[in-house]
């Protein structure tokens, strides 16, 4: 099967562009970067067509760690879940690579951008193809690294490097949980291999499985930006927009969902952990959606929307509907990548403007962008028969089966989602143009990927992922309930109608509403001051403690104090003893005399010399 070719192709692209890309013309950089990803996509297609997905398709390359009873190999495998992820990652990845040629055309560090993007593809494919937790963790950390590198791509801007650091540091908290989960697995199962662990898991005690499940969930919360670790994702928008689309919407941030779905055997035997995932998911979905209502930066709206939609996926997985979670992962990859790429096209057209208050009336100036983004907007709002309708509905039905209050919270969130996405659409594309740039439509290299993603957003719901994964995951017997579906669609359409009313029909209404609910509005506009609270509760104490206790106290006071103290002591002693060194021979002789008298007296008192 040669699975190793799939990740290694982008890695080769990374090496070529990373080492020699500086001297290449742009055409060569493009050919290497896009070619390697397209080849990888082709190899994925070829592999999936030729193998039997229900057999065990594992490849063992070499033994990585051999220590006592623990053996960890560099293994890769393909099953149905991996197949979906591979197609999403390489397919969307290829489209976004192509789009990036147009978007990054006028940016510096062109080859650097593409080599990082290829490196990201490599690590993401390793993550997806891994057939044990440790290899998965390599990919997991690698995508984190690439995320950091690409968020801080404009490294001469302070806010971009800060955002990169924030993403990296917040992810460390989650990775800590992931590592602990792996240690615990080694202790209890003696292996990190998916097959071995999942075979042993049903026999293990529930306490063990719950602990592992909760620790893995902590890792997933960090990577997939769930409460309380979501704060890094909105800041991650400091990176170039294709990065936001590829890494921070379509692929990397869904790694947490993939990992929890991959560990479904553990979770089905640990209902407490699974329920915690559902609660965190629905809480995040609701919480992030409310923040999205009041943002003015177009990318920030979609960033909070991503957090919210990831919450949906967690809700689906947590309700036991793993296939629904993965289904939503895929459709979300379509429409959210499209929303980000579309907003990138808008930003490109307006020469860098991101504030929606300075947009408006763009639908005639950039029609391709407008129509494609509209497809994504109806899809994310769950309007039938677009892709978002199918996936969101399968999650909500499962949530209702799991706990009805989660369904209702999810439905309200769906209404808010439709509202804020259409608010962004109306503010951007309708009304009068409020900015000063000269909007121009993006080149075909950017609009063609947009069009393809638009087709996928509209029709992606007919890709029968739940049926495809039905043989992989346990099925939840949630009855199809037309009322539930109708209610959620009604909420979605209601959200759209409300946005229309507030931003098109009565343009002054939004401002008067914001003025009327000043306190609430400013709370939401400022993202509930979560960043400020974290800053005061975590960052300041850590920084202050490091400064006062560790730096001034421990390092300067104790360690430096000891080292310098020895020196100072020697110097002070020397200062006293120096007085003896008079240079006067007779004073030396006096000391000699004095010394010999002392020696003789001491000898006499000690019993005399014998």
């Amino acid at each position: 099967m040669q699975l190793w070719l799939i990740p290694l192709l982008p890695f080769a692209g990374f090496l070529v562009n990373g080492l020699a890309g500086r001297r290449f013309p742009k055409g060569a950089v493009n050919a290497v970067a896009i070619g390697s990803v397209l080849l990888s996509f082709a190899w994925v297609l070829k592999t999936l067509f030729t193998i039997n997905l229900d057999a065990i398709n594992q490849e063992h390359y070499f033994t990585w760690i051999q220590s006592g009873a623990l053996t960890v190999g560099c293994d890769m495998a393909v099953d149905r879940l991996t197949a979906v992820m591979l197609l999403v990652v390489t397919g969307i990845g290829s489209l976004i690579h192509i789009y990036s040629i147009g978007y990054m055309a006028h940016e510096g560090g062109y080859y650097r951008f593409f080599s990082f993007l290829n490196l990201f593809m490599f690590f993401m494919l390793v993550l997806v193809l891994a057939s044990n937790y440790l290899v998965m963790f390599v990919g997991w950390e690698g995508v984190g690294l690439c995320s950091y590198l690409l968020i801080g791509f404009y490294f001469d801007k302070k806010f971009a490097t800060n955002a990169g650091n924030k993403a990296f540091i917040v992810n460390r908290i989650g990775d800590f949980g992931f590592s602990l989960a792996m240690f615990y697995m080694v202790r209890n199962f003696g292996s990190l291999d998916f097959g071995t662990v999942f075979k042993a898991a049903p026999g293990a005690s529930e306490a063990v499985l719950t602990t592992i499940g909760l620790l893995l969930m902590l890792g997933a919360c960090g990577k997939s930006a769930q409460l309380p670790l979501y704060v890094w994702l909105p800041d991650a928008m400091a990176g170039p927009t294709p990065v936001s689309a590829l890494i921070h919407a379509a692929t990397m941030v869904t790694a947490g969902v993939y990992m929890t779905a991959r560990s479904w055997v553990i979770y089905t035997h640990a209902p407490l952990a699974l329920n915690t995932i559902a609660i965190i998911g629905v809480a995040t979905a609701f919480f992030a959606a409310t923040i999205g209502l009041a943002q003015t930066d177009i990318k920030k709206v979609f960033a909070y929307s991503t957090v919210s939609q990831l919450g949906y996926m967690f809700l689906g997985v947590g309700s036991g509907a793993f296939s629904a979670g993965i289904f939503h992962l895929m459709t979300h990859a379509f429409f959210k990548a499209l929303l980000f790429l579309g907003s990138g096209s808008v930003i490109h057209a307006l020469a860098g403007e991101q504030d929606m208050r300075n947009m408006g009336g763009l639908r005639h100036k950039i029609p391709w962008t407008f129509w494609t983004m509209m497809c994504a907007a109806v899809a994310i709002s769950g309007v039938p028969p677009t892709s978002g309708f199918f996936s969101k509905d399968s999650i909500l039905v499962a949530a209702n089966h799991h706990a009805p209050w989660m369904y209702w919270l999810g439905v309200v969130t769906a209404g808010m989602t439709a509202f804020y996405v259409f608010r962004a659409m109306f503010l951007t594309f309708f009304g009068e143009y409020r900015g000063h740039a000269h909007p121009h439509e993006s080149p075909p290299l950017m609009t063609i990927p947009l069009a393809m993603l638009a087709l996928l957003s509209l029709g992606g719901g007919y890709i029968a992922v739940p049926a495809f994964l039905g043989r992989f995951f346990p099925t939840v017997e949630a009855p199809e309930d037309f009322t539930l579906v109708a209610i959620s669609v009604a909420f979605g359409l209601g959200g759209i109608a409300l946005a229309y009313l507030m931003y098109i029909a009565r343009p002054g209404m939004a401002d008067s509403l914001a003025g009327g609910l000043k306190g609430l509005y400013s709370l939401v506009y400022n993202k509930y001051f979560v960043d400020e609270i974290y800053d005061a509760a975590v960052v300041k104490p850590v920084v202050g403690g490091s400064r006062v206790v560790l730096w001034k106290g421990m390092d300067v006071g104790f360690i430096d104090g000891m080292v310098n103290g020895v020196g100072a002591l020697a110097r002070r002693t020397g200062a006293v003893l120096r007085l003896l060194q008079s240079g006067n021979i007779r004073s030396y002789a006096t000391w000699v005399l004095f010394g010999s008298v002392v020696v003789i007296v001491a000898l006499e008192l000690g019993g005399g010399a014998r």
Partner: protein, 102 residues
């Protein structure tokens, strides 16, 4: 002939040695200091010889000869140094020869 008690020799030796030390410590003239050193060496020689005589062993005498040889060498070198010092500084006052200080 009545034996002279060893204590007498040792007392004389100690007296001579203390005289030498006092001269070394309190006189300022280099020549005098030098002579005081010789006095101390010879005081020690006296006790060596006295012990040697009393214990009927030759070691003490041997030591005395060594001390004499060293003293002779020291005298040669020392006097040469004193001559040079006087030539350069026109003084034999030991307190003025202290360029090593500081």
């Amino acid at each position: 002939m009545a034996e002279i008690p060893i204590a007498w020799f040792l007392t004389l030796s100690a007296v001579l040695f203390v005289l030498g030390v006092a001269g070394f410590l309190f006189r300022r003239n280099i020549i005098t200091v030098f002579m005081s050193i010789e006095l101390m060496l010879n005081a020690v020689n006296l006790s060596f010889v006295a012990f040697s005589y009393q214990l009927k062993q030759v070691d003490g005498n041997l030591f005395a000869f060594f001390v004499m040889v060293v003293a002779a060498a020291e005298a040669a070198v020392g006097l040469a140094i004193i001559l040079t010092v006087f030539k350069n500084r026109s003084t034999l006052n030991i307190d003025e020869v202290e360029t090593m200080k500081n």
